[in-house]
C-alpha cells in the first residue's frame, strides 16, 4: 500500500508537471489548481495501481518478466493485492462496512445540527458539505457492498467454481476503491463540495475546487462497478459447475447476474455527466452552462438515466440476499422461484425507462410526465412478485428465527413501507408536493437502509461462520437486530410526517413549528447509531475469540456449505456436480455431490 501511495505521488507529479509545462509554453497561468489536479489524476491512478500490486502480479508479463504472486500468507493477505475472490470479497466487505459506519457518523453530525431550529454546530456551508459527503459515501456503499462484497465471496462458491472468471480484473476493481476514499478525504480537507451526491450542474460548475474530487471519485466508483459487473456476467455464464443449470441457480446468483447487467449497461451515462462537468470547469466547454449554450437539464437526464437503475443496483442484491436466507431458515423451497426470477428481470427491464420520475418538477416537456408516471407505477408489478415469493416461503414453513432470518424478514417489512410510499412519489400530482421534501428522504432510507442494509446484515450473520470459521454470538446478534430495527423505524418513520408538514430536504435550518419532531428524530438517530456498537463488539470478539464453526451450522443445502469453513483456496477439494435444485428441503436429495458421480444423499 505504501508502494501504491508512492506510485500515486510519482504519477501525479508526472501528470501535473506535463500540464504545467504545456500551460507555461502556451502562456497561461501554469499553476492553476484544477487543470493540474484533473490532468495529474489519471497518472496518479496508474501509479497507484502499479505500485499496489498490478506491476508485481500482472504487468511484469507485459515487458517479458515473470509475474510474482503479490499476496503474503495469513491475515496480511487482506491488506495486500490478492486475486483470490474470497480475499477480495472480505476486502470489499470490511472497507465498505467501515465507510458505512463513518458515513453514519456524518449523518449524526447532521442530526445534531437539526435537533433544534437555528444554528447549533454547523454553519450552513459546512452543513451542505457534510450532507454531500454523507450522501456520496452512502451511495458508494449501497451500490457496492453486497454485490462486490458477498457477490465476490459467494458467487464462485455458489456456482461451484474455483474463482471468478477474471481474477486480476477483480483485484483491479477493488483497488480502485481506496483512491475514491483518498479523493473524498482530500476534497474535505480543501473545504469539500456542497452540491450533494447528485452534483447538479451548473452549481457543480461554480462552486469550490472540492467539487472536482467528487466528480473524479464518482467516475472511479463507476469504473470499478462496470469492471465488476462484466466479471460477474462472464463468471456466471461460463463457470457454473456441471449440472448447475439456470433453473438451479440460487436466487442470490440470479440477483447478482441481473444487477451486473444493469451496472454494465447504465453506468457509462453518469460517468459522462461527471466528465462533461469537469470539461466545463477546466476547459470552459459549455455542455451544461446555459450562458454558453448548454443545458442543465441534460445533466439531470444523464445523471438519472444511470442513477435510477442504480437504486435497483442497490436494492436487488438486498432482496435476493433476503430471499436466499428465507428458504434455509424456513426449511422449504423458495416459493415461486421461477416467477421471482422473472420479477427481478422485469424490474431490470423497466429500470431503464423510468428515470424522469426524479424530474417531474424539473421543467421537462410535459409529454414525459404521464408516460413516466405509467412506467414507474408498472414497476410495482414485478416488485410485488418478490413479495409473493417471500410470503409464500414463510407461509407454512418451520421458521428458525436466528439473527440472519430476523434481518431477512425485516427487509420485507421495511421495504413494504418504502415501496408503498414510492407510489405517492410516482403519481405526478402527489409528487409535485412531495418532491424534494423529507417524504423523499424517508422513502429512500426505508428502501435502501431498510431494504438493502438490513439484507447486508442478514448476509453478514448468515455467512459469518463460513467466512471467518468462527460463530458469532447469537444473543448479541438478536440484541443488535431488535435495537437496530426499532431505532431505524423511530428515526425514519417520523420523517414522512416532516415532509408532509412542509420540511424540504437538504436544509441546514427549518421552521420552528417542526422542532419537536426533529428533536425526536435526532434522539432516535443516536439510538440507531449506538446499535452498531453491539454489532462491532460482536464481530470483533467473535472473529478473534468466537467458538470454531462447523462446515454447515445452518444445515443448509447450497454449495458454499458443502466445503470447510472457511473454504480452502480454490474452494472445493474436488469439483462439485450439481444434481438438484438449491432449496429442495425434505426430498432427501442433495443439491450437489463433490466429484463427478451422480446420485448420493444428504
Amino acid at each position: 500500500m505504501i508502494r501504491g501511495l508512492a506510485g500515486a505521488l510519482a504519477g501525479y507529479a508526472v501528470g501535473a508537471a506535463l500540464v504545467a509545462a504545456i500551460r507555461a509554453l502556451t502562456g497561461v497561468d501554469p499553476l492553476a489548481a484544477e487543470p493540474l489536479v484533473v490532468a495529474g489524476f489519471p497518472f496518479a491512478l496508474i501509479g497507484w495501481l502499479l505500485g499496489v500490486g498490478v506491476w508485481q502480479a500482472w504487468a511484469r508479463e507485459w515487458v517479458g518478466l515473470d509475474a510474482r504472486p503479490a499476496a503474503p500468507p495469513g491475515w496480511r493477505r487482506y491488506f495486500a493485492y490478492s486475486t483470490d475472490h474470497k480475499v477480495i470479497g472480505v476486502q470489499y466487505l470490511v472497507t465498505f462496512t467501515v465507510i458505512f459506519l463513518l458515513a453514519g457518523l456524518s449523518a449524526l453530525l447532521l442530526r445534531v445540527e437539526l435537533a433544534a431550529p437555528g444554528q447549533a454546530i454547523l454553519p450552513p456551508a459546512t452543513y451542505n458539505q457534510v450532507m454531500s459527503l454523507h450522501g456520496i459515501l452512502m451511495i458508494a456503499v449501497a451500490v457496492s457492498v453486497i454485490i462486490a462484497g458477498f457477490g465476490n465471496y459467494l458467487v464462485p462458491l455458489l456456482i461451484g467454481a474455483e474463482d471468478m472468471a477474471f481474477p486480476r480484473l477483480n483485484a483491479l476493481s477493488y483497488w480502485l476503491i481506496p483512491p475514491v476514499a483518498l479523493l473524498l478525504l482530500t476534497s474535505t480537507v480543501l473545504g469539500g463540495w456542497d452540491s450533494g451526491w447528485t452534483g447538479y450542474a451548473p452549481l457543480s460548475e461554480r462552486n469550490r475546487v472540492g467539487q472536482i474530487f467528487f466528480n473524479l471519485s464518482f467516475i472511479l466508483v463507476g469504473l470499478s462497478s462496470i469492471i465488476g459487473g462484466l466479471n460477474f456476467l462472464v463468471t456466471i455464464i461460463r463457470l457454473r459447475a456441471p449440472g448447475m443449470t439456470w433453473g438451479r441457480l440460487p436466487i442470490f446468483v440470479w440477483g447478482i447476474f441481473l444487477t451486473s447487467l444493469m451496472s454494465a449497461v447504465f453506468t457509462q451515462s453518469v460517468a459522462v455527466a461527471m466528465l462533461l462537468t469537469l470539461l466545463d470547469r477546466v476547459f470552459g466547454t459549455g455542455f451544461f452552462a446555459a450562458a454558453r449554450g448548454g443545458s442543465p437539464l441534460l445533466y439531470e437526464n444523464l445523471f438519472w438515466f444511470y442513477s435510477h437503475p442504480a437504486v435497483y443496483v442497490m436494492i436487488i442484491p438486498g432482496w435476493v440476499l433476503a430471499l436466499e436466507v428465507l428458504p434455509h431458515f424456513a426449511r422449504r423451497a423458495l416459493f415461486a422461484y421461477r416467477w421471482a426470477v422473472g420479477g427481478l428481470a422485469g424490474v431490470v427491464a423497466l429500470s431503464g425507462v423510468v428515470w424522469i420520475h426524479h424530474m417531474f418538477t424539473s421543467g421537462v416537456p410535459f409529454v414525459f410526465l404521464p408516460v413516466f408516471l405509467a412506467t414507474t407505477e408498472l414497476i410495482s408489478i414485478p416488485t410485488g412478485v418478490i413479495f409473493l415469493s417471500a410470503l409464500g416461503t414463510l407461509w407454512l414453513g418451520r421458521l428458525w428465527l436466528r439473527t440472519p432470518m430476523l434481518f431477512a424478514i425485516a427487509v420485507f417489512f421495511n421495504f413494504l413501507i418504502g415501496g408503498i410510499t414510492g407510489i405517492f412519489l410516482a403519481d405526478v400530482p402527489t409528487d409535485v408536493q412531495l418532491q424534494d421534501t423529507y417524504f423523499v428522504v424517508a422513502h429512500f432510507h426505508y428502501t435502501i437502509v431498510g431494504g438493502e442494509i438490513f439484507g447486508l446484515f442478514a448476509g453478514i450473520y448468515y455467512w459469518f461462520p463460513k467466512i471467518t470459521g468462527r460463530m458469532y454470538d447469537e444473543r448479541l446478534g438478536q440484541l443488535h437486530f431488535w435495537w437496530m430495527f426499532i431505532a431505524f423505524n423511530l428515526t425514519f418513520f417520523p420523517m414522512f410526517g416532516l415532509g408532509l408538514a412542509g420540511m424540504n430536504r437538504r436544509i441546514a435550518d427549518y421552521d420552528a413549528a417542526l422542532a419537536n419532531t426533529n428533536l425526536f428524530v435526532s434522539i432516535a438517530s443516536f439510538a440507531l447509531g449506538a446499535s452498531f456498537l453491539v454489532f462491532l463488539w460482536n464481530v470483533i470478539v467473535s472473529w478473534t475469540r468466537g467458538p470454531m464453526a462447523q462446515a454447515n451450522p445452518w444445515r443448509a443445502r447450497t454449495l458454499e456449505w458443502q466445503t470447510s469453513s472457511p473454504p480452502p483456496l480454490e474452494n472445493f477439494p474436488v469439483p462439485p456436480t450439481v444434481v438438484a435444485g438449491p432449496y429442495e428441503y425434505g426430498t432427501g436429495r442433495a443439491h450437489a455431490v463433490l466429484g463427478g458421480a451422480a446420485g448420493g444423499d444428504d
Partner: protein, 263 residues
C-alpha cells in the same frame, strides 16, 4: 406417491385452518387501518384549488394502500408468530406442492391495482389540475431565482421587486408562474399551494396555482416561497413570505409597489 396422498389429508385441513385464520386477521387489520387512515389528516390545510386536488389524490392513495399493506404485514406477522420453531431444524418435512395459479392470480391483482393508480389519481389528477388543456391565467407572475433570493415581476402591472421579501397574490385568480434562474438551478415551492417547479438557467418553466384562501406567512408558515432545489450555502434560507389578499387590496399593493419603485 400413494403414501403422500394419505399423509396429505392431515396437513390439508391445517392449511385450510391457517388460511382462514389469516383471512380473518387480514380483514380485521384492514378494517382497523381504514378507520385510522380515514381519521388522519395527512396534509396540513391547503391554500389553493390545486391543493384540494392533490390532497384528495394523496388521501385516495393512502386508502388504496391499506389492504395491500395489511396483507403483507399480517402475512409476515402471522408466519413469524404461528410458524416459528424454538430449536434447530430436525428432519425437514416433505415439500408441499406449490398451489397452482397463485402467482398468476397475484400478478393479475397487482397489475390491476397498478393500472388503476396510473389512471386514478394519476391521469385524472393531472386532468383535474388542468394540465391537459390550455387554461388562460388571470395573472402572470415572473419569478427569477438567484443565489439566494427571488426577483419577482408582476406582469401587466409594471412592477418588479428585486430580492423580494414578499410575494402578494390575489384570491381566486389563476396565477401562472413563469420561472427561470440567473445562476444555478433553484425551485419555486409554495407549500400551502402544493405548487413546485424548478428555476432552470437558460429556459422558462411554468406552473399554475389558484390561491383560494386569504392567508399570510405570519399566520401559517406554509405561506412561503421556498427554494426546494439545493443551490448552495444560502439554500435553506432562500425564502420569501407569501400573502394572499382580495383583488382590491392586491391592486392597492401593486400601486404602492409601483410608487415605491418610481421614487
Amino acid at each position: 406417491m400413494r403414501t403422500n396422498e394419505g399423509a396429505a389429508r392431515g396437513p390439508a385441513t391445517s392449511v385450510r385452518r391457517h388460511t382462514l385464520a389469516f383471512v380473518v386477521a387480514w380483514l380485521a387489520a384492514t378494517a382497523l387501518a381504514f378507520w385510522i387512515v380515514s381519521g388522519t389528516e395527512f396534509n396540513p390545510p391547503g391554500g389553493s384549488a390545486e391543493a384540494a386536488i392533490i390532497d384528495e389524490a394523496f388521501r385516495f392513495l393512502a386508502l388504496l394502500a391499506v389492504p395491500v399493506f395489511t396483507f403483507v404485514l399480517v402475512g409476515l406477522a402471522y408466519s413469524v408468530v404461528v410458524f416459528r420453531r424454538s430449536g434447530p431444524p430436525g428432519d425437514d418435512p416433505r415439500p408441499l406442492p406449490e398451489p397452482r395459479g397463485v402467482a398468476l392470480g397475484w400478478i393479475v391483482v397487482t397489475s390491476a391495482l397498478a393500472i388503476f393508480v396510473i389512471v386514478n389519481p394519476g391521469l385524472t389528477g393531472m386532468a383535474a389540475l388542468g394540465w391537459f388543456e390550455d387554461r388562460r391565467p388571470d395573472l402572470v407572475v415572473r419569478v427569477e431565482g438567484q443565489q439566494w433570493s427571488w426577483n419577482i415581476t408582476y406582469d401587466g402591472y409594471g412592477v418588479t421587486v428585486p430580492k423580494a421579501t414578499e410575494l402578494v397574490l390575489p384570491r381566486d385568480r389563476r396565477v401562472r408562474f413563469i420561472v427561470t434562474s440567473k445562476d444555478v438551478i433553484h425551485s419555486l415551492w409554495i407549500p400551502a399551494f402544493r405548487v413546485k417547479i424548478d428555476a432552470v438557467p437558460g429556459i422558462e418553466t411554468t406552473a399554475d396555482a389558484t390561491p383560494n384562501r386569504l392567508g399570510s406567512f405570519d399566520a401559517d408558515p406554509l405561506y412561503r416561497l421556498q427554494c426546494a432545489e439545493l443551490c448552495g450555502t444560502g439554500h435553506a434560507r432562500m425564502t420569501a413570505r407569501v400573502r394572499v389578499v382580495e383583488q382590491a387590496e392586491f391592486e392597492r399593493q401593486m400601486a404602492s409597489l409601483r410608487a415605491e419603485a418610481g421614487r
